[in-house]
């Protein structure tokens, strides 16, 4: 009994009071900033070096939908590239994931692109079914963490549920393996419509490291509109929760 009281006291308050303004430590690899013109030769070298084909050279850009946040390009070109600790990276506009030179603004969802019914229906309560289709478990663990005692997204009525029949959308992790493609489709079809599709993590957004693999099959994404892209390897709970809040129009 005494021990339990001691544990409780030491446990203290774990809750992050304001998820909207929480800051991460300076080393966290969030949204990158590109400064000035990257010399052509260096740009070519970086594009070739990038393990995830996230760098385009003309004009120089980093695609957050492909980047695995290894930070190697910053180490190779510290004058030009800097990864900030800004976790604002989720958006509903694929184009906005492409970071160009001297763009230094948080990446957030565009309210004009949100389907109308989404905000009306899900603003106060959003139940999601997570489907891992080749995810490496790190994204899945971060999504679990989004609901834990620290991040507690349940305070906004956002929650993962077991049955797709109870879900307002699916959150996909992993590059979508061929062996999981059918199960994903069946799961999505079982959700009542309108149903959100959220791509969580680099693998899900573009295939990431597995873009070239013959074991992935991404045709699901051609058939269904994407409501939110959440970059990261894995995504940070703050990136996910805030992205979803912005999508459904919560303050």
């Amino acid at each position: 009994m005494i021990r339990s009281i001691r544990i409780l006291r030491q446990h203290g308050v774990q809750y992050v009071p304001n998820l909207r303004t929480a800051e991460l430590n300076p080393l966290f690899r969030g949204r990158p900033v590109i400064k000035g013109e990257v010399p052509a030769e260096l740009a070519t070298h970086l594009a070739k070096m990038c393990p995830s084909e996230a760098i385009e050279i003309a004009p120089f850009s980093i695609d957050l939908g492909k980047c695995v946040f290894c930070r190697e390009c910053e180490f190779a070109a510290p004058e030009n590239i800097r990864f900030t600790n800004d976790w604002h990276m989720a958006t509903n506009n694929r184009e906005n994931l492409i970071v160009k030179a001297d763009h230094d603004n948080p990446v957030i969802p565009d309210p004009d692109l949100v389907r109308k019914e989404i905000r009306n229906l899900f603003r106060r309560s959003l139940k999601l079914r997570q489907v891992s289709a080749g995810g490496d478990a790190s994204n899945e663990m971060e999504l679990n963490a989004a609901g834990n005692v620290n991040f507690d997204m349940g305070r906004y009525g956002i929650e993962f549920v077991a049955s797709p029949r109870h879900a307002d959308g699916v959150v996909i992790t992993g590059p979508i393996t061929e062996n999981m493609a059918e199960a994903l489709q069946i799961c999505f079809d079982a959700t009542p419509k309108p149903s959100l599709v959220i791509l969580c993590g680099t693998d899900a957004i573009s295939g990431g490291l597995f873009q070239e693999s013959n074991a992935v099959k991404r045709s699901f994404l051609i058939r269904h509109p994407i409501d939110l892209y959440v970059p990261g390897n894995p995504v940070h709970p703050l990136t996910f929760i805030n992205g979803v809040l912005d999508l459904i129009g919560r303050k």
Partner: protein
């Protein structure tokens, strides 16, 4: 039986590559006898047994770990033609069942008398392209009294996919079959096609996200060995710290999950927040909560700096104390013990026969732990004593986590303070020890060689093996996550259990789907 003269090559932990031609090629008869003869000994188990295309045919490679000598024993076989049917070794050595199934699935080689050459993961480059996930041949029992329960591939929680098929008599599980492969991403092939060390390093961190450090360290060792590079003692120590932090985080997280499955919310919530303190320490060190980006062959982008060490020591002390408290609660509460004790038992002889590794071996009194038997890097500097339990049940698996987490917290604290005395003389922000692989220098790579690296991840032994071609280029890359051996242990554990105990049994193993499916 007459004394057999064995023919294999010995490789030391983190040893240099060996010429491919130095690995004895045995005919299948001798290969089989040697495998059986060596594995007859309890201290020898199979780490890897696989085939790859070689010289217009196939080459089989077997890697056994000899715990007594601390060496790996490697030998090979080249079938005359790939339509051969060989005699299966599984009836004699059940631990080989999955390795033979994998060879069969990839190349169509038949193994006569194998109990059932079922698919392993339906890889993209499988031999039988006409069959897919829906063609998996489940074991069935025809009976009016029995029923089947199918679970997955998508599970109730936010976890990876896999299919569990139970055959039950009422509430009791008679048989569980686990179909995997949903997570197959073709990652071994990407290692060959990667074209750069950096790309392989990043791939290694994504083999299994909960073991990012374990797989990345194993890949780094293999790469350094191929290039003939040795790394500093400081870097060795930092890697050991990273490996142990990963173990501590997962063990504490699993303690939380075990509490969840027996409805002990207090333990769940407290342990979840304790795990957070550890992964946030890793984030403070390298910017990623799972340690992605921390490990690079030949160097590191994130040397351990004095401020990080200071914060790490504080966290370990505080978290260590709180973890001791909460686990003392857990392991003295009758309402929890009744759900752990005697549930999901695997016997020692079962663990040995299926070739269990890591925690799944140690829970039954089999002291398999690479840190003790085949140590490399910093682990070779001292003698690690494995944590062993004997009951083989959920309680044993929970207890191993508890004891190992405590032990690792102590070890890391000791190592980190050792580092801090060195570190404080350096600048407060450690300077990068950039890897030779990232400076644009030509780095050599041993040609026509076989190279092996094995480490004890938090689940058990992780093995990577590569074969290089005439230019030193990697022509084949093999990855083994400990889950590959241990899924069978879960299937055995739930036999004759209530099906309602499946979640806690499953959690107590916490095996990797993507690590198995590759």
């Amino acid at each position: 039986m007459p004394m057999q003269v064995y023919s294999y090559i010995e490789i030391l932990p983190a040893g240099a590559p060996v010429n491919l031609t130095a690995i004895p090629v045995l005919n299948y008869h001798d290969f089989s006898n040697q495998m059986a003869g060596l594995m007859h000994n309890e201290t020898v188990h199979c780490v890897l047994y696989y085939a790859f295309p070689f010289n217009n045919g196939l080459k089989f490679i077997a890697v056994l770990a000899d715990d007594a000598s601390g060496k790996f024993l490697v030998f090979s076989h080249e079938p005359e033609n790939s339509t051969d049917t060989l005699t299966s070794l599984t009836p004699q050595m059940p631990a080989l069942h999955l390795f033979e199934r994998e060879i069969h699935e990839n190349f169509g080689i038949g193994f006569e008398h194998h109990p059932w050459l079922k698919p392993v993961r339906f890889p993209a480059d499988r031999f039988r392209k006409d069959q897919g996930m829906n063609d998996y041949p489940f074991y069935r029992i025809d009976s009016e009294e029995l029923h089947e329960v199918g679970v997955g591939p998508i599970h109730a929680g936010v976890i990876e996919p896999g299919h569990f098929r139970f055959i039950c008599n009422g509430e009791k599980v008679l048989h569980l079959e686990i179909q995997l492969g949903y997570q197959h991403r073709g990652i071994e092939k990407l290692f060959v096609e990667a074209g750069s060390t950096l790309r392989r390093s990043v791939l290694a961190e994504n083999i299994a996200g909960d073991t990012a450090v374990g797989h990345a360290v194993t890949h780094a060792q293999l790469t350094e060995s191929l290039a003939g590079i040795t790394i500093s003692e400081t870097l060795q120590l930092e890697r050991a710290i990273a490996l142990e932090l990963e173990r501590i985080a997962v063990h504490i997280g699993d303690t939380a999950a075990l509490c969840t499955d027996v409805a002990y919310q207090f333990g769940q919530v407290v342990n979840e927040s304790l795990r957070t303190t550890i992964i946030n320490t890793t984030q403070l060190w390298c910017g990623n909560r799972f340690g992605k980006g921390l490990i690079r062959p030949g160097g590191t982008n994130y040397p351990l700096s004095a401020p990080v060490i200071e914060s790490m020591l504080k966290t370990l002390e505080n978290t260590g104390m709180r973890y001791r408290d909460i686990t003392d609660n857990i392991f003295t509460a009758p309402s929890i013990l009744i759900r752990f004790d005697g549930i999901g038992s695997v016997t020692r002889s079962q663990a040995l026969s299926i070739g269990a590794v890591g925690m799944a071996a140690r829970m039954t009194g089999v002291p398999r732990d690479i840190r003790a038997t085949h140590p490399s890097g910093h682990y070779a500097e001292f003698k690690y004593e494995p944590v062993v339990e004997n009951s083989g049940d959920v309680l044993a698996r929970a207890m191993i986590r508890n004891l190992e987490a405590r032990r690792s917290i102590e070890m890391v604290a000791e190592w980190a303070s050792l580092q801090s005395s060195v570190g404080s003389q350096q600048s407060s922000v450690g300077s990068r020890q950039s890897s030779v692989f990232s400076r644009q220098e030509a780095v050599g790579s041993r040609q026509n060689s076989f190279v092996l690296a094995v480490n004890e991840g938090w689940r058990g032994e992780i093995a990577h093996a590569a074969v290089t071609g005439p230019e030193g280029e990697i022509i084949h890359y093999k990855i083994k996550d400990p889950s590959f051996h241990n899924w069978m242990a879960l299937a055995l554990a739930v036999r004759n259990q209530e099906i309602s105990d499946f979640p806690v049994c499953n959690k107590s193993f916490n095996l990797s789907y993507c690590g198995h499916d590759l």
